[in-house]
Structure formats: structure tokens, C-alpha cells
Amino acid sequence: MTTTTTTPQAAAAAESLRGKHGRDGITSAVFAAVLWLCLALICVFLFFILAVIVQKGVARLDLNLITNQPSKIRAETAGVQSALFGTLWVGAITGLIAMPLGIAAAVYLEEYANPLKWWNRAIELNIQNLAAVPAVIYGILTLGFVVRGPVSIGAVVLAGGIALALLILPVVIITTREALRSVPQEIRDGSLALGATQWQTTWRQVLPAAVPGIATGSILAMSRAIGEAAPLILVGATTFVTFNPDGLLSRYTTLPVQIYNLVPQDRDAFRDLAYSAILLLIVVLLAMNAVAIWLRNRYQRSW
């Protein structure tokens, strides 16, 4: 495409188009480099943390970790089975409480509530606020109402599940609403125009279409819950437990709580164990995140 600059006039035009913004180009490049550096730094930090954990944790990442119970005597073969099971129990309870409640609330707000009514707006604002309330506050709430206070079930696994369910409830509601909102209005109109009721439309069209979004959001919320320690320490997850929970009213510990107790331990063997437990927890969480991402990519729909 360089055959055209023949006439003197064209040569002048070509000259006039030539770069006058060289310095501009340099600042621009520096700016891009700085941005790139920001991302690089974040990634370096992440990989550094993961590397430290893997390096220190891989030594004790053996079968003992999940087949054995914690031990004060035999640091070298101690495991975290009770904590792993505790985490699963608490996670399951959290999910069973938060998901139906959160999804139901989201369906109400998105499909039924009249957004012009003040009380619905109040609920909405309230949920946004709850999403920013610190986790320890949920711990205090559960401690005051469930562990002691009116319900008084004590420091049992159900109480831990309730604390975490309250914590992620607003997140589940918000992400579910997002998912419902992304189901196009045409689907609803189409169903209603055929004579389906609002409930049939919601149950048979909107919810199934929103399942991937709801699942993704819920999994991310659950993975946040499973990594939480602060509220559980408040509601009395016990530190030394050598048995797996066997019911809703069983005492328990969870992986984050166990890690909280293990890492600063004096014997190196315990610290290695702590890092393995961290590794185990992160593997569980990354697996959950991966499922969420997979779901998102797999079912992402362009309507």
C-alpha cells in the first residue's frame, strides 16, 4: 500500500500525517506499563502465597491428614479429619439454610414485589446493607440468639451453620437476583401470554433458566463461608476435637478454626500440619471456584 506517494502534493500530505505525537506515545506506553505492573504485582503476591503454602504444606499432605484425627502427642501423624468433616457439616447446614431462604427471597423481590412500594425498597436497601456487615457481627448475633439466649442450643455444629448462613444470606439473595434479572423479560412475557400463572412462569421458566447463575453465585458464597473462622470462633467451635460430627447437635471444629490453632504452635511438626491443612482448605476452595467458573462458562447463555 505504499505505491501512491508519487506527486509532490501527496508527498506533502504524507509528511503532514507523520507522527507529531511521539512524546505522547512514551507517556502512554509508560502508563500501560504501570497498569500492567499493578496486575503483575497482584499475581506475584498470589503466586507467592500459594508457593509458600505449597512448599510448606506439601510435606505433610498425605493420607494421614484426612484419615487421622488431631493429636497433641503424635504431631508427625496427626490429621485434621474432624475439622474436614466439621467443615463439610457446617457447609452443608449453611447451604441448606441459606440457599432456599436466599433464593426464595430473591424470587419474591425480583418476580413478585412491586418495586414502587416502600417496604420492598426497604428490604432491598436492608439486604445491601447486610452484605457489608462484618462477619463477627453475625457471630455476636448467633451467640446471643442461638448458642445462648432464646434458642440456647449451645456451641454445636448447627449453631455454626446458622452463623455462616446468616452471613452469606444477603450475598445469595443479591447474586440470585442478578441471575433472575438476566433471564430476558421475553421469556416471562411469552409464558404469561400463553395463559400461565405467575407462579408457573417463575417455577417452570424463570428459575430453570437462572439455575447456572444461581449456582455460580451460591458456590462462591459457600466458598466464602467455608473459609470463615471469626464467626465460628465466636459461636464456640471447639479447638481440640478428635471425633467427626454425628448430628446437628454435635460439637465440632472446622478447618479454618483448626488452622487458627495449629499455625502458631510451637513444634515444627504441628506447623507443617497447619500448612497442609491450609493447602487442603485451599484445594477445596479452588475446586469450588473452578466448578463455579466452569458452570459460568458452560451455561453462559447469550439470549
Binding site: N114, E186, I187, S191, G195
Partner: protein, 298 residues
Amino acid sequence: MTHVEPDLATVPETVGVPGAPHGIRVDLGGREDRTPAGEPDGVIELRNLEVFYDKFRAVSGVDLLFGSQEITALIGPSGCGKSTVLRCLNRMNDLVPGAHVFGDVTFHGADMYAPEVDVIEVRRRIGMVFQKPNPFPKSIYDNVAYGPRVTGMKTGNMDDVVEQALRGAALWDEVKDKLKQSAFGLSGGQQQRLCIARTIATSPEVILMDEPCSALDPIATAKIEDLMVELAKTYTIIIVTHNMQQAARVSHRTAFFTAAADEHGQRTGRLVEYELTGKIFGNPADKRTEAYITGRFG
């Protein structure tokens, strides 16, 4: 959204309408002969219809009588309230927050907005097809069977119902081998016909269509237009369209709307002219209608 340019070879040849004042050529598809004369034999009637969205008056003072087994086209520039009027006819406006409907809307003479009326039944008997094909994310079969299922219709064999509806929508031959496949696999025109089949499956009397072809290419458009003409033998059809050629080609009667601003700058849609389609395009009574159909605005 993709917008498809017509393949010229398939655009039907148009014929000049004798007496069209400025020579604009509309194609009446050889259907002038079927044009009913005089007042239509009404199925749905609007009297002094007025619709508000909150405080905003979207349309006002609309009187219309829709003829049975006819195709009525609603035309007019964007924002003049065509869709609003159409949504009044099967109470879809109930779903729009803030929408309020005043005036009389009667179906075979019965007030459609009376408190005792079952809105579900209204919607079953007055079906609707939308601008963008909106199949459900289900199989083709389930799309068609959805309406009969949710309305609890007493149908014999569901397979038969589905086949009937798909045949009615001129889609059966194209999909009969892949009924269990997702409806999203169909082309836009097929999807729109599927939506029509879905509507037919609930045995409605009236079918409302809001710009049913505006997302389709000319070939698909031609198919849907043929289908509409076919369906008009059984159903009453009311169609909103932006495409005047389409209105001219398929409809028996045409209602032209426009929106005029009042002293406060509020723009309210009004019915300008309602006439046999041949008359509207051949010899409009109103200057505004003429300006619109000759392409000077809109």
C-alpha cells in the same frame, strides 16, 4: 441483533395501486378482492381507551373495532402507542408496573377488565406473538406443549396437539424429526413460527402480533406473512408493524396512530385514521397519514 438485507430475488414484485396519490407502490398481494366492506364484525372493541404509565399518558381516546377473522394492522411512528394498545387487548399491561388502563375493552361484548374476569383465561383465548422470537429454553416439543400443560387444558393426546399446532404454523415438516431438540437450534424465522405454533396450541380466538417480522430476513418474513393470511381463515389477527409494505400486503384494515405533544410537551398517542387498508394506502383522508406513508417522517 443482526439486521438482514433482503435477497432481491425473493422480494415479490409490486404492483402500482391505482389512484395512489403520489405513485407510492404498495403490494396488496392480490387480496383486495377479500377486503370486507363496511363496519367489521367485531370481536374486540375499544372505546375511549386511555393508558397511563404512572403520570404519563401514553395513549388517549382510542376507539377501535377489530373484525373477526380479519387481519388488522396498527401502524404509526415509533412511540405512538401501538404496542401499548396491543398489550391492552390481552391485559399484558397488567404486568407493567405503573400501567393503568381506562375506557372500555370488550371481548364479544364482555368487559375484559371486569373484576370477575380471569386474566389467565383472557390470555389463553387471546394469544400473543412478540417482536423478537422468544422460544423457551426447552425442546421444540415442550415449547408447544407448554401452553396446554400450564393452562390445564383437557387435550387428548399431547403429541397430536403439538403436531396440529406445528402444522398450523407451517413448521411441522421442518421440525418433525427433531422435536426433542432445543428450540434455540432453529433459525429466527423458524423460531417465530414456533412461537406462533405455541400460541395456536392453546386454541386462542385472537392472535396479537407485535412487529413479528422486524427481526427476520425477507424470506422468513414472506413465510410469516403467508402464514398470517392462512391463519386469518381461522383466527382474528391484530398486528403491529413498522413496515408499511407489510401492512399493505397482509392486512384487511389499517389503523394509523401518531403522537402529538400537548402544551406541556407530553406526547400522547392518538388514533388518526382507521380504514380499509386499500383506502389508507390509496387515498388517506388525513394529511398526517399521507405524510407517513409517503415516507416523509417516521
